[in-house]
């Protein structure tokens, strides 16, 4: 009897082991063509661009992206349109795709770049991380693959954030833009006009405070959300071109326009624009509360749109207007905070550079069209005509896309651009500005100082 029990126990353990090992396989979402391409059949499917490897042996490329499930416009377009179409038109390029959710992707990406195990093609946010990878010679230069035909389809300036020392290391597919989301229900209920100028914004803040409502939502624990206000005011006062020059280390941050922008943030805090306890809240919390209709205004990126339009997440569907940050009466009032920061890069050590670059070029052209058709994400294509897609799109997306497309200049969020130490100091100082613990002059001076100290300055 004992022997029987022992054998049974052993068998159970072995079976469990096999089950665990099987489950732990961790197979990436590998996609193979529906049928194995015979070696001597030429590419028969008509394609917009001829496949790079014509009837040659199939090559495999590994691709890392952040779209695990069709949850929003980008992921749905990627999973349901872009990848299947690429595979159909490129039967001899086998795409081994590994998707990881956004936040987990950052960790995975960090670990891979430290270990040198990046795949052939990977998604990334330029320019801060891309710049360091380029400097470490880990990215493939793409210039030799970008002929004038290709470049004519790309929005001018949209590759700047992946261009270092005159060489291009990544391709972008979409622009993001910051928008001032206004809860029209709260505005109407309190008889406040949607602000189009900075003075009107201050008046709106006063009106909401008088009604006992916190005017602007601010997840100050995530300091980059505070920075948005200072960034857009810097654009308003001194123009995107100037700010971009400073971000590139070509000009000093110790500039009257920067001082003015920090002062504007201090003024907003003094006017009671934000919750006095904003420093205890993070972005996930505040975004949810905005969607529940708690705040009249929220200044964040266009990625909020899909959540605002989703009845399961938002109780203010159709009651939101998204506008560019109010004007100050200067020449830069149409400029935006935003730009092309999402992109794909190719590993310098890839075994199949032609296939990898072909993939990147193809998807960065196809994804934005497919994604915009589902709502939002302004493509970085110069031949993109928004009118073709505007019908059936949520008004929010169209509104943002319109003012973004007509902007005469843009800067990215500084924390995605600056090198590590200046970025850390900048974010620290943002929280100090909200706490009114630092002057605007010191903000500009300290930032300029650290840029010079870390050797990033070129002036």
């Amino acid at each position: 009897m004992k022997k029987v029990l022992r054998t049974l126990a052993l068998a159970t353990v072995v079976a469990l082991l096999f089950a665990i090992l099987g489950a732990c396989g961790g197979t990436p979402a590998s996609s193979t063509p529906a049928a194995d391409p015979p070696a001597d059949t030429p590419a028969s499917t008509p394609a917009a661009d001829p496949p790079a490897d014509d009837g040659a042996a199939p090559v495999e490329i590994t691709v890392w992206d952040i779209w695990t499930a069709p949850l929003d416009n980008n992921s749905t377009a990627w999973l349901e349109t872009v990848i299947p179409e690429f595979e159909a038109e490129h039967p001899n390029i086998i795409v081994n795709r590994e998707s990881t959710e956004n936040e987990a992707y950052k960790t995975k990406f960090d670990a891979a770049q430290a270990a040198g195990t990046l795949p052939d093609v990977f998604f990334g946010w330029g320019p801060a991380s891309a710049r360091e990878l380029a400097n470490a010679n880990m990215l493939l230069e793409l210039d030799s693959y970008l002929d004038s035909d290709y470049m004519s389809t790309v929005q001018p300036g949209s590759l700047d954030n992946f261009t270092f020392n005159g060489k291009t290391y990544g391709l972008t597919f979409a622009n993001w833009a910051a928008a001032l989301y206004c809860n029209t229900e709260l505005f109407e209920a309190n008889n406040v006009a949607i602000p189009t100028t900075y003075d009107e914004l201050l008046a709106a803040i006063d009106a909401f405070n008088a009604a006992g409502i916190v005017p602007i939502a601010l997840p100050a624990q995530d300091a980059w959300t505070i920075a948005f206000f200072q960034h857009i005011m810097a654009i308003r006062y001194t123009g995107a071109a100037n700010v971009n020059a400073m971000l590139n280390g070509e000009k000093s941050f110790n500039d009257p326009g920067i001082v003015q922008s920090a002062q504007a943030l201090l003024d907003l805090v003094a006017a009671g624009a934000f919750d006095p306890n904003a420093l205890a809240s993070n972005e996930a919390d505040i975004s949810t509360r905005f969607r529940m209709g708690e705040f009249p205004m929220y200044f964040l990126g266009d990625w909020l749109v899909s959540g605002l339009e989703d009845p399961e997440q938002s109780s203010i569907v159709g009651k939101v207007q998204a506008i560019n940050f109010p004007a100050v009466g200067g020449e830069f009032d149409d400029q935006i905070l935003g730009g092309a920061t999402d992109g794909f890069m190719v590993n310098a050590n890839t075994a199949n550079p032609d296939a990898a670059v072909e993939f990147v070029k193809w998807v960065t052209a196809r994804l934005p069209q497919a994604s915009f058709a589902l709502g939002g994400t302004i493509p970085t294509r110069s031949n993109f005509n928004m009118a073709d897609y505007s019908e059936g799109l949520p008004a929010l997306s169209v509104g943002i896309a319109e003012y973004a497309a007509n902007a005469s200049g843009a800067t990215l969020a500084w924390d995605t651009f600056l090198p590590e130490e200046p970025k850390a100091l900048m974010l620290d100082m943002m929280q100090q500005l909200v706490g009114q613990q630092i002057t605007a002059e010191d903000f500009a001076a300290n930032l300029a100082q650290i840029i010079e100290d870390t050797g990033y300055a070129q002036y």
Binding site: T107, D110, Q113, A114, A115, G116, T117, E132, L133, N135, A136, N137, M138, A220, Q221, D275, P276, N277, A278, L279, A280, N282, A348, E420, E421, K423, A424, L425, D428, Q431, Q432, G435, Q437
Partner: protein, 297 residues
């Protein structure tokens, strides 16, 4: 079978796999961390690694922007609070329930629950409790008429440290209580009976018999408590991310930010090694202080 287990060679052979895993998972990464702490590196495989000797360690104390020294101070305060509040409370609770009180099993489980709840969940829970507008804490204060005491518990730099530390102390009281309680259970009843016959009061029994006999476990609790305070991360990170204005930074949150956000692997590794050394030194000091004696019954 016994002959087999006593055979030293057999023991060695069977320990090798576990030993290899241990070396691979623990010692080799520590070795790498020590190596990284002597270089300057930005975490990209192809990037330059410059050897800078002990500069990273010196910078721990000279680089004010890292807030490492204030973080150490916070960890020290936390350790002190643990010794003065957490352990005594745990001891009192253990004494209270070790006397075959009614519901002994129930209280034992209830006090232990915070220990087994994931710290991330606890962080979320207390974030909601401490919320300035919707939080239960402010609601209770308003209800009992102490409106003036309400505040943004996690936003006000003056109270945030206390608020965070309260949760950390509270979480592990049950853990230390359980350790001490289990040791108390090993004390033979005959000692208590003898004391009762001699007419000792409850207080005398506790101070003259129970506490001295659980000294080895108290030593263990003190060690875990202090080391835990040096290493604590998740609760602080979920509640405040080290803010506002770096007031609630602890060494591990500074290290995490330095490596993950700022990609300064050299400085971050130096912090990690420093934390490890501090824990080692503290453990040795505690051992020396307690000079454990084993009691034979």
């Amino acid at each position: 079978m016994e002959k087999f287990l006593r055979n030293k060679k057999a023991i060695a052979v069977f320990s090798v796999p576990a030993l290899l895993i241990y070396i691979g998972m623990i010692f080799i990464p520590i070795g790498f961390a020590i190596y990284y702490s002597f270089i300057e590196w930005n975490g990209r495989a192809g990037a330059e690694r410059t050897f800078i000797g002990l500069e990273n360690f010196v910078e721990l104390f000279t680089n004010k922007m890292d807030y490492f020294v204030p973080a150490l101070a916070n960890a020290g305060i936390l350790a002190l609070l643990s010794l003065l509040i957490q352990l005594p409370v745990a001891l009192l609770l253990a004494l209270a329930i070790a006397r075959k009180t009614k519901g002994e099993g129930f209280f034992r489980s209830v006090y232990f629950i915070p220990v087994i709840i994931s710290t991330a969940v606890l962080g979320q829970l207390w974030q909601k409790i401490y919320h300035a507008q919707y939080g239960v804490l402010n609601d209770i204060l308003r209800a009992i008429g102490l409106e003036s005491w309400t505040r943004g518990w996690l936003a006000d730099p003056k109270v945030v440290l206390g608020a965070v530390f309260f949760v950390m102390i509270w979480q592990y009281i049950g853990y230390h209580m359980l350790l001490m309680y289990s040791q108390m259970k090993t004390i033979p009843r005959s000692l208590y009976e003898a004391a009762e016959i001699d007419g000792a009061s409850g207080f005398q029994v506790a101070t003259r018999i129970t506490i001295p006999l659980i000294k080895p476990m108290i030593k263990v609790c003190v060690t875990f408590s202090i080391i835990g305070c040096m290493k604590t991360f998740d609760l602080v990170w979920v509640l405040t991310k080290g803010g506002p204005f770096h007031t609630t930074e602890v060494p591990t949150t500074v290290m995490f930010d330095t490596i993950m956000s700022q990609h300064r692997y050299g400085a971050g590794s130096a912090m990690a090694i420093f934390i490890m050394l501090v824990c080692l030194v503290l453990t040795l000091l505690i051992m020396k202080f307690f000079k454990a004696e084993d009691y034979e019954y």
